[in-house]
Symmetry: C2
Subunit: 484 residues, 2 copies
């Protein structure tokens, strides 16, 4: 979402020409009590809707921030109510802002009610990245109709943006940046700035050469502190951070975060400046990527996270992961069946099967979560492999000792001491095996270019469980005479 | 970390007076190839260190961004090497910036080598939030010595900041904001701006009344577009978003993210402006909170994530979670022991124990991850409870049907059809029970003010496993004649 679009004062149109990110509040309490307030707001809007209190609703919406209105619309369950609220928002500018904050489902719904010309009108004041996002979620034909009705310069820009793949710098950048020639003077720059209305990020002024290649950057404040006739090339910083248009959005967000930037310019292979990515979009990317990793680890892939898809679709999305687990646990079951004579001989063995089956996987999950998250945030480098491996193995060994001592005592009190010892030794072995796999797998996957979050998934966990049970039953069979 | 501190051009001191966030690059390739580059850089620095190629090292460091140097120091394993690299960084300003980007362990190490007066000198150009952070990680006595040697105005501010609890708005805010009286004119504001050197965020100009209460905000760009004599109160936006000094940092970050702000002002209960939080710190909070949630779900709590604590400490931190799991799985084991006659009668029952034990927990993990993450990002509101509950139950039921069909067939081919059916029915029941718990628990915890991420922890998972096994063995005992 564009920084400056959201923040226009909707109730005071006199301030509209200046599109700066100032923010607008619903009420002081909203800010203090936080999320519970947004719950309360949703409830009271639903109540007003059901009572048909249109005037009160419109008044309430007039005082609300577009992002909050969008949040309400996203959370309403009835399509009719979503439509009603959107229709009650006054003013095209504010309606456009609400639109840009909606989720995919609500965007499609709201735009399907409008004529393409009305939709084009709502979109006209939004940032090019927001427009491209909105058009990318609605049906293709409709997007084309709307695009055809926009100003030619806008529609060309947006059509260009739509060509970049999702998840790359090009896919999240905006084309509304403020760039000037290196020969322009500080005074000219200030004049241009006063006229510019659609540059999203006016905190940095990008400087380009004759071929539109990015050669420098300066800040608004620098302009104020030099004599008016100074050419930009004398005050600009030449050494600047930029990203390639095809860079992965996760890497872009890592750079913006680690260099503490407000915006990062995006360049083509030849150095031509084509867009900028602002920090607010980076914030969204960081949240999305964290969500994606967590869901991947739990085997519920991202699309499902919106709580919007039908139960059938959601079940289909989650089933493959569950089936893999099912097959894995059936393999463990086959091992138990293989050792059924041992089990029938000493039925006490079954008392520890759940322990052995669960604990290896748990220890592995601890290690793999640490490493997967470390790789995602850049805290773990691939060169750290061995250091981390030995550290995790040592921790697993220490915890294994503690747990097996406890198990030996439990085994002794419950059945007999030798069984407890067999369980204990199996547990330590299982811990070491599963930690090794949990540490090495994410790193191997990352090296192969696969998302390491997969490593916390069913394959590794299941493999750990099977290994644990195999070790336990083998030891139990070997020491059958002792544990009887 | 402060936005403007990091981005000074270290190799070109002539530009130092202007502390704007322009960013500096190491090399174009670094930006294009990303993380592998930081690996490569670490390796080549280690090589230069071991060869003793001090001149080359110093040259390389001079070209590197402070954040990248800090990253290298954090990842070096030998304390001696960490020290050597820090000592090779030229220029107090740059050294200060590197310091502000280091992790806690490296900060303590580097500062323990310096005289308090030298340390105070390094800190003097940093933002007050960065200084407060640095002083909060080193031993208390040392922090006091350093603080005593700083300029009185700085040290008072920092001592004030250190009083706010970690994790609150006060704990992450900076006191370097740019605020003017509402009666000042645009021209005065511009003049003040040209003189100001230590205001971290000059993109927003905050406006206060006689009692220092925040009454409005305006943007730098607004100043340029009005006649010079205009008083600020005529152009400022009065309706603005601010947060209370004791607000939880997670809620602050949610607000900055949802309203797309670059900075949010922090006020005392009486409305007095005391600081601002910039979006770069919000980015850090969002990453930290996501990491924390993931680690909490895997039972490895946050402090351990730094890969810095000793193995002993790490093991102690992770053990409680593991012990809870151990006890839980022992309870499952006791259930198996309780039903040992059933098992001895029909040993084929053991073939499905791993399936029943694992699958319920897995389905629950999918639901609880979705909900925990949704609550953290604000995508799920507490009012959505029932909608989500029924949706998740329906999904679990659909997946349960699919899995039990498969299990019935497997049971039929492997042992006999009735056993397969008992397994299938147990699985569907276990799915429904565990989804219900996984959906309801995070919401109940959130309502009680407990972090919902705990719900994915051992209690719920273990309870699910036990329930599944209890259902399975009870059904198997009831239908013992049929499955024999």
């Amino acid at each position: 979402m564009a920084i400056n679009d959201l923040t226009i004062q909707p109730s005071e149109p006199a301030r509209l020409p200046d599109k700066e990110p100032l923010g607008k509040d619903v009420s002081r309490e909203a800010v203090v009590s936080g999320q519970s307030k947004s719950d309360a707001r949703l409830v009271s809007i639903q109540r007003l809707l059901r009572r048909g209190a249109i005037t009160n609703l419109a008044k309430m919406l007039a005082r609300m921030h577009p992002a909050d209105i969008a949040n309400v619309i996203d959370h309403l369950s009835s399509l009719k109510e979503k439509r009603e609220i959107f229709e009650l928002v006054r003013g095209d500018v504010k309606r456009g802002q609400v639109l840009s904050e909606l989720d995919g489902e609500s965007i499609t719904l709201v735009l399907s009610d409008l004529l393409p010309s009305d939709a084009a009108w709502l979109l006209k004041d939004l940032g090019s990245d927001d427009i491209a996002h909105i058009l990318s979620v609605i049906p293709n034909d409709r997007a084309k109709d709307i695009l055809a009705l926009m100003r030619t310069e806008d529609s060309t820009e947006i059509a260009d943006l739509l060509k970049y793949p999702k998840g790359t710098a090009g896919g999240i950048m905006t084309t509304e940046f403020f760039a000037l020639s290196e020969d322009a003077t500080a005074q000219e720059a200030i004049r241009r700035l006063q006229q510019a209305t659609d540059a999203e990020m006016v905190f940095y002024i990008y400087v380009t050469d004759k071929d539109d290649r990015l050669v420098g950057v300066l800040s608004l404040r620098q302009l104020l502190t030099v004599p008016p006739a100074t050419p930009l090339k004398n005050i600009m910083t030449r050494d600047l951070i930029s990203v390639a248009v095809d860079m992965d959005q996760e890497e872009v967000s890592r750079q913006v975060a680690s260099y503490n930037l407000l915006a990062i310019p995006v360049v083509e292979r030849d150095g031509k400046l084509v867009g900028i990515i602002t920090v607010d979009d980076v914030v969204d990317v960081i949240r999305e990527e964290a969500t994606e990793d967590m869901l991947k680890m739990a085997g519920a892939i991202e699309e499902d996270s919106m709580f919007k898809s039908s139960s059938m679709v959601a079940a289909r999305v989650r089933l493959p992961w569950l089936f893999t687990n099912l097959v894995g646990s059936l393999l463990s079951g086959m091992l138990l069946w293989l050792f059924r004579y041992t089990i029938q001989e000493v039925v006490a063995i079954v008392s520890f099967i759940p322990v052995i089956a669960a604990m290896g996987g748990n220890v592995g999950l601890q290690s793999s979560t640490l490493i997967i998250r470390g790789l995602a945030t850049g805290m773990v480098e691939l060169t750290d492999v061995w250091k981390i491996f030995f550290r995790e193995a040592k921790i697993a060994f220490l915890m294994g000792i503690a747990c097996s001592l406890m198990l030996t005592i439990v085994g002794w009190l419950w059945h007999q001491v030798f069984l407890g010892m067999v369980v204990g030794v199996s547990l330590i072995t299982a811990f070491l095996v599963s930690t090794s796999m949990a540490t090495v797998m994410p790193i191997v996957l990352k090296r192969m270019g696969v998302d390491p979050a997969v490593a916390a998934g069913p394959f590794v966990t299941t493999a750990n469980d099977i290994t644990g049970i195999a070790i336990y039953l083998t030891l139990a069979t070997i020491f059958l005479e002792q544990i009887r």
